[in-house]
């Protein structure tokens, strides 16, 4: 119940933290494009208690940066139909794919 009351006053932003300590602050609404992050923030998990900070021990900074970029890109284009595809560097492709699978985006 603490989490739900906290949610009322929770900030508009959340922080994603990579395994090597990089932090990415982005809009809660954008981050919730990822169903996994949405669930992390919705339930009474540690993430909510720690002030909306999500640690990803398996995702490094480089990949998480791209993930954050994607979340913003998706949020920005949420109401558009003809959206140019986001560029994904081929060398990051596989790692990013695994992250995407994990985050359910």
């Amino acid at each position: 119940m603490a989490s739900s009351s906290q949610k009322q006053g929770s900030s508009k932003y959340v922080t994603l933290i990579s395994s090597d300590g990089f932090e990415f602050v982005l809009l809660r609404e954008a981050a919730c494009v990822s169903k996994a992050i949405k669930k992390m923030l919705a339930g009474s998990f540690l993430e909510t208690a720690r002030g909306d900070r999500c640690h990803f021990e398996e995702i490094n900074g480089i990949v998480l940066e791209k993930v954050a970029e994607y979340l913003c890109y998706n949020h920005k284009n949420r109401n558009r139909e003809d959206v140019p595809d986001m560029d994904i560097p081929p060398e990051l492709c596989l790692e990013l794919l695994m992250a995407a699978d994990y985050l359910d985006t």
């Binding site: 139909e81 794919l97 992250a99 995407a100």
Partner: protein, 622 residues
């Protein structure tokens, strides 16, 4: 300023003032003659102008506390220089503002802004509107202008092009510019067409328009760069399967890329498009992945005797064999395979083998594959009712799918099908009988009696089942509600009297209502494509306001003539989790509004589906 005040700008012609006739005149220019003949008189003009100026001066003095009050004397001098009075300037300014406001409000301008700017540069709106205004104020056709690039003087025509800085270009310079831009413009046009087709293609694949999800983006990038990949690392089987599917769709599954999917120790090999693989590549599958248990190969034309011989020589114990297009395996090899490796086989799917794999092989299956659970024979031209009868002996079957193209002779064929259902129907969980043109209501009756464990039922392409037969099948059927139902093309055909259906043949209103009453609660996929006898009232009744079908994901009601905008709206209302609705050939569907996140395919107009609302966020579908 270009549009000047003509009266003031006119130099007083050298004509004599109005003097009573004295027949002496100096030399007169042609222009003066012409003006005189038109009743235009320089003196008159001057007087008019003076009067106007005086009036303006007077009005300014009464206005008094104007913004440039300190220099009221300067005004009369500057005004004529700018060829307009203060009042005129104010008027012009007002008109300009009006025009700009009009431009801002115009649809074209809004569209243009949507195209170029996003919502963060809201401030330049004024500037953009002014740019449009000034564009429209460019010199009119017929005037002279200096070319922006070569500075030569030329006369403006309606075809004069604007240069890079907004000025006009002379014909020669525009030609050069055309040449430069020509190819780029063409390319842009082509790209736009491609984009539109891509959008439609995505819709058909169930990808919602808008930003793709990250996984799709990654897989597509991977497909583009697949030749640079050495291995897929430790991706999950599910992901590997998705990648394999997309590579195949793009026809990129070559002997080289096949290696990415042969992972030693794995028990599944799936190649969705094996058309580019040779027999040796198939043999290599068994060499690299000897642990393989489930093998699925589509377009496996080169999976021929040589490969079968190799497979028979290995210790591979296949549980699933799914071969598509392997019509170069002769009967002898099939028999040998079934005798030697049949005991492990749990699923056998044979598609598109033309004149191969017939009655004899089905007999071998019945004899040597005691553990067989799934049998699928699709697009086969060899199996006859004799072979079908053997299926009745396969007691462990839970999934049966037949699509036979050799027409079963009326009575015999029907009897053999009834026999199957009668003996093994009780254990079946999925039953699929496609292209059964002549089977009658007797089949529906026996399904009603024998089958009580079905979750998927497909009976398609038939023109003898009656509406009554369907109604009976779904009334009081002990089978639990179905999840997947496909009854497409169950309808009456008569080329002479296409509108008449005296015997109520095909799935009609009664059948449709009973089936939805029986299975509506769990149904996920429903296909009643071409069941044209279902009435609009039946649709409206089934998808009435008080009914919901929470599980429904996909409906195909193409070519059901009675479907219209209202029915489509009712369906969207009653099926909250619907993802795709197909309405090909339903000309009553004209401007149905599609809730966000749902896909409507086959709207018979060029606009395609129109999305309504922005509330729901779970739009992405793949």
């Amino acid at each position: 300023m270009n549009p000047p005040n003509p009266p003031n700008g006119m130099p007083p012609p050298a004509a004599p003032p109005q003097r009573p006739a004295r027949q002496i005149r100096g030399p007169q220019s042609a222009l003066t003659d012409f003006l005189a003949s038109q009743g235009i008189n320089a003196n008159q003009i001057r007087q008019d102008a003076d009067a106007r100026r005086a009036a303006a001066r007077a009005s300014m003095q009464t206005a008094g506390g104007d913004d440039d009050a300190p220099s009221p004397d300067a005004e009369p001098e500057t005004a004529p220089a700018r060829k307009e009075t203060k009042a005129q300037a104010a008027k012009r300014k007002k008109e300009e503002e009006k025009a700009i406001a009009k431009i801002k409000a115009s649809k074209q301008f809004q569209r243009r802004r949507k195209q170029y700017g996003s919502d963060d540069d809201m401030t330049d709106e004024d500037e953009a509107a002014r740019a449009v205004f000034e564009e429209s104020m460019a010199p009119l056709p017929g005037q002279m202008e200096n070319c922006e690039v070569c500075e030569k003087r030329f006369s403006v025509t309606a075809y004069s092009r604007a240069g890079p800085d907004g000025g006009l270009l002379c014909p020669k310079c525009s030609k050069d510019l055309d040449k430069e831009e020509g190819s780029a413009k063409k390319k842009r046009k082509l790209a736009a067409g491609r984009q539109r087709r891509q959008l439609q293609s995505n819709l058909l694949d169930g990808i919602y328009p808008g930003a793709k999800d990250l996984m799709t983006l990654c897989i597509e990038t991977l497909a583009k760069n697949v030749q640079n990949a050495n291995s897929l690392g430790d991706l999950s089987d599910e992901l590997v399967d998705k990648i394999a599917a997309i590579l195949s769709k793009k026809r990129l599954m070559t002997p080289e890329t096949l290696y990415l999917f042969l992972r030693p120790g794995s028990d599944t090999v799936t190649v969705y498009d094996a058309a580019k693989l040779s027999s040796d590549d198939f043999i290599r599958i068994f060499q690299i992945v000897p642990t393989v248990k489930h093998i699925r190969l589509r377009n496996a034309i080169q999976f021929k005797n040589k490969v079968m011989d190799h497979l028979l020589g290995t210790t591979v114990k296949l549980q699933t064999l799914s071969l598509h297009g392997a019509n170069l395996i002769d009967d002898e090899r099939w028999n040998q395979f079934l005798t030697e490796k049949g005991s492990h086989l749990q699923a056998l799917k044979v598609y598109h083998t033309d004149g191969h794999f017939g009655d004899e092989q089905l007999e071998m299956v019945a004899k040597h594959c005691p553990n067989l659970r799934r049998l699928k024979v699709c697009h086969n031209q060899k199996v006859t009712e004799a072979g079908v009868r053997h299926i009745a002996k396969m007691g462990n079957l839970t999934h049966l799918s037949l699509e036979l193209y050799k027409q079963l002779t009326d009575m015999e064929g029907e009897m053999s099908c009834l026999e199957i259902i009668d003996t093994i129907g009780g254990g079946l969980r999925t039953l699929s009988l496609a292209t059964i043109h002549d089977l009658s209501d007797a089949l529906l009756e026996i399904i009603h009696e024998s089958c009580q464990n079905l979750s998927k039922l497909r009976l398609t392409d038939n023109s003898s089942f009656t509406d009554n037969g369907f109604a009976k099948l779904f009334t009081g059927w002990l089978n639990p509600p179905l999840v997947y139902l496909d009854l497409h093309k169950c309808r009456h055909i008569d080329a002479a009297e296409p509108r008449e259906n005296p015997n109520n043949i095909g799935l009609g209103s009664a059948g449709f209502e009973t089936l939805m009453a029986h299975s509506g609660a769990t149904l996920k996929h429903l296909n009643v494509h071409s069941c044209r006898h279902i009435s609009r009232e039946a649709f409206e009744h089934v998808f009435a306001e008080n009914k919901t079908y929470p599980e429904m994901q996909e409906i195909d009601i193409s070519f059901c003539q009675s479907v219209n905008d209202f029915v489509v709206g009712c369906i969207f209302r009653s099926c909250p989790n619907l993802k795709t609705l197909k309405v090909f050939g339903n000309f009553g569907v004209k401007e149905a509004r599609v809730p966000k996140g749902k896909i409507l395919i086959g709207v018979p107009n060029a606009l395609g589906m129109q999305i309504e609302g922005t509330a729901e966020d779970e739009g992405r579908v793949i």
